[in-house]
Amino acid sequence: MIYTASRYILIPLYLVSFLFLGTSVLQAQEADLKEGETIFKQRCSSCHRVEGTLIGPQLLGVSAKYASDREWLYNWVRNSPALIQSGDEKAVALYEQYNKQLMSPHPDLEDQQIENILAWVEESVVVTKQPVTPEGGQPVISPSIYYAVLGLVGLLVLISLLLIVITAFLVTAVQSKEQQEEVTIADVWARTKMILGNKFVITAIAAIALMGGTVKFVTDARAIGLHQGYMPEQPIKFSHKLHAGTHQIQCEYCHSGVTKSKNAWIPSVNVCMNCHKYIEQGPQYGKDEIAKVRAAYDNNEPIEWVRIHNLPDHAYFNHAQHVVVGGQQCQTCHGPVEEMEVVYQYTTLGMGWCIECHRETKVKDLGKETDFTVEDMGGLDCMRCHY
């Protein structure tokens, strides 16, 4: 009796609390979501993904799963080792399920912050499912295409030469027939030379060569110092496709300078070790490559990466300016890194390319686009980048 009675009382209570929970999620301010995102990127994303298991379970659905067990969830997040130690059944089961990997405690997180993370996780599914479209990105012209074009041109030249020789042979043959003489190679050669010696042909060939040369010279000269497509070999076969693509680790998790400094920086080894303390083996290169990271950490020897994106010394570029104030996506300049097995320089990083973007891009005020382009705000001044 008591049981059923309590059920009748509790059900509406549950409903109401669910409603509250629901509305609170709905009403969650943008700022709360933003905070959730920040915390997720800073603390969770090394072990958890929104969807799919990484080291720990996926976070999508966690909110619903523990809807009635919030306190337990908070305790788990704040100090899971203690919970496991205390012999809590659910905790131990979870621990066993995920290869006995302890989740590092986050004692400073408040309830609301944990809610913010969960709220963001649910929200983000909509966002992350959208394909990332690089703004202003251009297809890479790989050197092989260039040589193919060159080969094609060469082939065309050969064919036209052959055609000229054939024409000369035919003309000679017709003439020989008329004059009833033997066709000699000397005659064919003389005829070929005659055709080639035609002033019009010479002028045409010279003009084409000159034009082609000039175009080639100008484009090459303009590309001096630009290294679009530069794809050096790195000391460790680090796959951005795996980390940023498959596992969807946020760029800022490793390149955390991007919001604070002019340098986005390559992460220090201790950042790699946040995950690779636990992950010894990768799907592609096995243990060898990860072993290099661990060796660097153990021997206190930095990894000497090859720098891909090089700006000349007289150009000043600030990542924080573009990412935080300008709200630019990493992909705008760096291309679809999450699809790159080996990273290469996607854009030219030349001054013309910078200027072009400054002319078109609208600046932001409180996160919203305004009517003014960067140029209107003085973004083409020399001393924005050169001092």
């Binding site: 090459d220 000269a221 001096i224 110092g225 290294h227 050096p232 300078g257 604070k260 400094s261 002019k262 340098n263 920086w265 390559i266 992460p267 220090s268 080894v269 201790n270 950042v271 660097a296 950490y297 206190n300 020897e301 930095p302 990894i303 000497e304 990466w305 090859v306 720098r307 090089n310 000349p312 010394d313 007289h314 000043y316 600030n318 924080a320 300016q321 935080v324 104030v325 300008g326 600046v363 932001k364 005020d365 409180l366 996160g367 305004t370 003014f372 705000m377 003085g378 001044d381 020399c382 001393m383 924005r384 050169h386 001092y387």
Partner: protein, 1056 residues
């Protein structure tokens, strides 16, 4: 042609043909590149070329360009940390509070773990954010190649273990025998280090600590010991003073704590607020004399009697007993009577200061201040200042007993070089049982010592400093020790037998002595470390005046010695003085920034020289660069002559701090040269000082001067980049004086009137301005609606003391190269900001105006219109931009600049090796000091002041990130250029002119505001504030007559 009212050098005043020729040419034509380079030893840069060379270069150039186009760029590495320290964000500077070795609280800017710039600690009442040139430059000493790199045993490097063991053994033996142990140091103002020294010495039966200062103020301390029982200098409060009388005391330039004094002094120098009155009696022209309202040149041997006369005049007015039998002495305009009258009228709010190291003078000056009731207001002996604690007599007794000393430890001092007893130390140190130097850099004394145990640079050290009774600050390391050095305090601690680290000793010391408020010590310590300073409560009313009358009388008797009202012709008083840029030479002699900073008054670089008064120049015909033989008391010195207007008649002067052969390669470059078998210039002046009446005297009398046939070029920059144009008279009429469009000044009495000369002048100017038109309307947006910032700078000529701190700050911030004296002599200095020093009036006692001059960022910039490649164009924020990579080096811009502020890179000053001197820029270590946010300029490009655009961009970005908006602008006052930040007096104000509430836009609307060469209609973004001197109309009239007299005197001498 009319002579200019304001002139920067005698050449300009006397219109010498060489000067007129030089003024015509923007760039020196007399020294060709070929010549300059063929003089150099290295032939690889020899530019003397012929047609074949040209073709070779052409051919190489084309093929090189072709190859460069094909070859991939070099592979660059990106090497991250293994474990990134949490507080380091690569690309963002970290700031730490610390204290310089001279005891000035600073903030240290570090980038990726290396200190690159210093700024005064704004929380400290001593600096208020400002910093002197010499302290600014001290960061460069950290990266000095000449530093000691490991402990030394004799001339060989050793390791710490060996050295420690051997010294410990020797010390133990001395201890067992009850031997004499002496520690000789400079001023030790670290309480914890002092404790360590005392504890160390307490372990010996006969241990004593002696400290001295190369340029001593021990008389000041001694006089206060006699008068108040406190052996220290009082704290000075110039901000409380309404009347200031100075006797040979350069408190704005080189005396005790000039940054503090300058800031305080300027509090009462506001013509629209409180305007103090400043009399200066001095033998040499100093920065302080230059700022004084009335300045009276006075011979050193007359100074004592002048002070006594002032005492008597003040005493008479206050109805107190006077000092009997004082010879009468008077100066122009009855200056002493006026001073006495003003002092008495402002009793309790006045201040008499004396910079002479003479116990008698200091005692009488203290007595005058006591009589005027100034102790407690403008002077505070209860919270004394410990800037200089040296004791000259103690040094003398140590020198006398040196033969019997068993162990001498020298710490932070170089007695063999910079003391009056140098020869005694040099002679006796090698014979001592144990001699140890704790110097951080090799010097004359450490070369004589058995062991040298190098100290850290202060930026690598822990420590504390007590500047005043109520002001302490902490020192914290900002970089890991670069070499195998050890902090001196740690060394002594170790030799005392302790195993404690100095860091923990320091913390314990502070916990015991300064941690009184209760609570958690860690919190207190961390907070103090963060702030850098600790201000204990003031102590009040313990010291009382106790000077007996007979002591005053005996002090007075000593001051009359050697006085004669009219000095004998041809007999001179020779003064040894500190230059503002080099001071005592201890840390500055090997610092190229300081060596190349023009002296604020003489405007000479890289040398010491003999300054002679103007009247002697007229009488004897001696000119600049003539070498003379100076004979005095059995010594003779060969020195080049520099004619110094304003120097007292019958006075000569030589700067100390030069002549060190062991201080390093930069110091050696400033040591003159041997000409005709004689060492000319670069003479060490310390050995010529003598102990007199218990204090070292820095002047000798009876010096004689003989001309020689030799000639020595002094790097004199005073008329470089002159704004003066001798041809302009032809265009604007014979009466046109361009110098009056450069400097504007007024006198206070007239300034206050609504119908005076100044008011009339302002009206005329306003009328004149209406007729100025511009073709470039697009450069001027309506400030009300503009979304842009318009950066402008206002410089108050009233507040500028000419100390040169801005020059070094700019050099440190903007990677301005050092070029060396040879390049200076060809007028190729590179400083972006120069301090023009203008004289006017009577050359025997001229008025002086300092004018910082940098790129004026004109809105109608003449340089922009002539650049053929648009390398210099205007920005939306009013900055005249310079794109180095676009510059092809036509130099048209510099030719067209009326302010002469553009600098051309004739060479690669940053890596051209021995061509111009082996400076810090030529070593890996030295280059660590460079600012990574500023491009290092290459040969063949023009450069100039950028308004510190990197600092502006940084502040703008911070504001934008904070507000999450591209429209956000930094708060007024948050953006500071390097020169502004460093200025001790706040003479430079910078900000957004488009913001009507910003400080700078208010100053631009002030009636004192004007721009230089306004008639050229360049519309500069740098404005100046008229100089106002606190003179009565009557005094102005007197000065005017003096000027007229000088004119005829000049004209007379011109014809002979």
């Amino acid at each position: 042609m009319k002579k200019p009212t304001y002139w920067r050098g005698l050449e300009e005043l006397e219109q010498s043909p060489e000067f007129l020729e030089q003024a015509k040419n923007e760039f020196p034509t007399d020294i060709s590149l070929d010549e300059a380079l063929s003089q150099a030893s290295d032939d690889s840069l020899d530019f003397s070329s012929n047609r074949r060379d040209f073709l070779k270069v052409l051919g190489f150039g084309i093929s090189a360009a072709t190859l460069a186009a094909c070859v991939e760029g070099p592979v660059k590495k990106a090497i991250p940390y293994v474990n990134k320290p949490d507080d380091i964000i690569p690309g963002v500077a970290n700031w730490y509070a610390s204290t310089t070795s001279s005891g000035v609280p600073v903030l240290v800017k570090t980038r990726e773990g290396r200190p690159i710039k210093l700024e005064g600690n704004p929380d400290s009442p001593i600096t208020k954010g400002g910093l002197s040139a010499i302290d600014q430059a001290s960061v460069l000493n950290l990266y000095d190649d000449d530093r000691l790199k490991s402990p030394m045993k004799g001339e060989n490097s050793a390791d710490w273990e060996t050295v420690d063991k051997e010294i410990a053994t020797k010390l133990a033996a001395i201890k067992a025998n009850g031997g004499k142990v002496r520690i000789l140091s400079g001023t030790v103002n670290s309480p914890s280090t002092q404790q360590i020294i005392d504890d160390f010495l307490a372990g010996f039966e006969d241990g004593a600590h002696v400290s001295y200062d190369p340029v001593s103020t021990s008389a000041l301390n001694k006089a206060h010991e006699a008068a108040f029982g406190v052996k220290a200098a009082p704290s000075y409060h110039f901000d409380q003073a309404e009347v200031i009388v100075g006797f040979s005391c350069d408190f704005l330039g080189a005396w005790l704590s000039p940054v503090e004094f300058a800031a305080d002094y300027m509090v009462n120098r506001n013509p629209d607020g409180k305007m103090s009155r400043h009399y200066q009696f001095e033998s040499l022209l100093t920065n302080t004399g230059a700022k004084a309202d009335l300045r009276f040149p006075l011979n050193p041997s007359q100074e004592g009697v002048a002070i006594l006369n002032l005492y008597n005049k003040v005493a008479a007015k206050l109805g107190q007993p006077t000092i009997p039998s004082v010879p009468a002495y008077s100066v122009a305009m009855n200056g002493l009577d006026k001073a006495a009258e003003d002092l008495v009228a402002a009793a309790g709010k006045s201040l008499v200061v004396c910079g002479t190291n003479n116990v008698g003078s200091q005692t009488v000056v203290a007595a005058i201040n006591q009589m005027l009731n100034n102790y407690g207001t403008t002077l505070d002996i209860n919270n004394p200042a410990y800037y200089q604690k040296g004791d000259d007599e103690a040094l003398q007794s140590l020198a006398n007993e040196l033969g019997s000393v068993d162990a001498l430890i020298v710490y932070g001092a170089n007695p063999a070089f910079d003391s009056a007893f140098g020869s005694t130390f040099a002679e006796k140190i090698p014979g001592l049982g144990l001699s140890v130097s704790l110097a951080y850099k090799g010097d004359e004394t450490s070369a004589l010592c058995q062991y040298t145990c190098p100290d850290h640079h202060y930026l690598e050290s822990w420590g504390d400093v007590q500047q005043k009774g109520n002001h302490l600050s902490l020192v914290q390391p900002t970089i890991h020790p670069i070499f195998d050095t050890r902090q001196a305090a740690q060394t002594l601690l170790k030799w005392s037998g302790s195993t404690e680290t100095y860091h923990s000793y320091l913390k314990n010391y502070w916990e015991t002595n300064y941690f009184t408020q209760g609570g958690d010590f860690r919190t207190f310590w961390n907070e103090t470390l963060r702030k850098g300073i600790f201000l204990p409560a003031n102590t009040s009313g313990t010291a009382s005046y106790q000077l007996a009358d007979e002591n005053l009388l005996s002090a007075a008797n000593g001051m009359k010695q050697g006085f004669s009202e009219n000095p004998v012709d041809g007999e001179f008083d020779l003064v040894f003085y500190e230059k503002v840029s080099i001071r005592d030479g201890k840390t500055s002699a090997n610092n190229p920034w300081l060596q190349e900073m023009p002296d604020p008054i003489t405007k000479a670089v890289w040398d010491n020289y003999l300054t002679i008064p103007y009247d002697y120049h007229k009488k004897s015909g001696l000119k600049n660069n003539d070498v003379v033989k100076v004979t005095f008391g059995g010594n003779e010195v060969y020195m080049p002559v520099l004619v110094q207007t304003g120097q007292a008649k019958n006075t000569l002067a030589i700067a100390v701090g030069y002549g060190s052969t062991k201080a390093g390669k930069t110091a050696r470059r400033a040591n003159g040269e041997v000409l005709g078998g004689q060492q000319v210039a670069g003479t060490n002046a310390y050995p010529f000082t003598t102990l007199q009446n218990g204090a070292v005297s820095y002047s000798v009398s009876g010096a004689k001067v003989d001309k020689t046939a030799l000639n020595y070029a002094i790097g004199l920059t005073q008329t470089f980049n002159t704004l003066y144009d001798p041809n302009i008279g032809e265009r604007f009429g014979a009466d046109f004086d361009r110098s009056e469009h450069i400097i504007q000044e007024a006198n206070y009495e007239d300034y206050k009137k609504s119908n005076g000369h100044y008011a009339t002048f302002l009206k005329e100017k306003a009328e004149h301005r209406k007729h100025l038109v511009t073709l470039w309307d697009s450069h001027f947006e309506d400030p009300e609606t503009s979304r842009f910032i318009h950066w402008k700078m206002a410089i108050d000529l009233n507040k500028c003391t000419g100390c040169g701190s801005c020059i070094v700050a700019c050099q440190a911030e903007n990677n301005v190269p050092v070029v060396g004296k040879k390049e200076i002599l060809t007028r190729r200095e590179m400083a972006w900001i120069r301090l023009d020093r203008y004289y006017s009036g009577n050359p025997d006692n001229p008025d002086v105006v300092f004018q910082p001059m940098m790129c004026q960022h004109c809105d109608n910039a003449p340089c922009e219109t002539v650049c053929p490649v648009l390398a210099t164009v205007h920005s939306h924020e009013g900055i005249n931009q310079m794109a180095y990579n676009r510059c092809v080096g036509t130099r048209y811009c510099a030719n067209n600049c009326p302010y002469k502020v553009r600098r051309f890179n004739w060479f690669n000053y940053y890596n051209s090796e021995s061509k111009f001197g082996d400076f810090y820029t030529h070593s890996e270590l030295g280059r660590l000091v460079m600012n990574p946010d500023v491009t290092v300029r290459f040969r063949g490009v023009m450069e100039k002041c950028s308004f510190c655009v990197q600092r502006l961009q940084e502040s703008k970005l911070k504001a934008k990130i904070a507000a999450n908006s591209t429209y956000a602008k930094p708060e007024d006052g948050k953006v500071q250029t390097a020169c502004q930040q460093s200025c001790p007096t706040g003479a430079i104000v910078f900000g957004d002119f488009n913001d009507p509430n910003s400080e700078v836009s208010k100053l631009f609307r002030d009636k004192r505001s004007y721009t230089v060469l306004e008639d050229v209609k360049t519309l500069p973004s740098v404005g100046y504030m008229t100089l106002v001197r606190n003179r009565s109309d009557e005094e102005v009239e007197f000065k005017h007559e003096e000027r007229q007299a000088a004119r005829s005197y000049l004209a007379e001498s011109d014809t002979h």
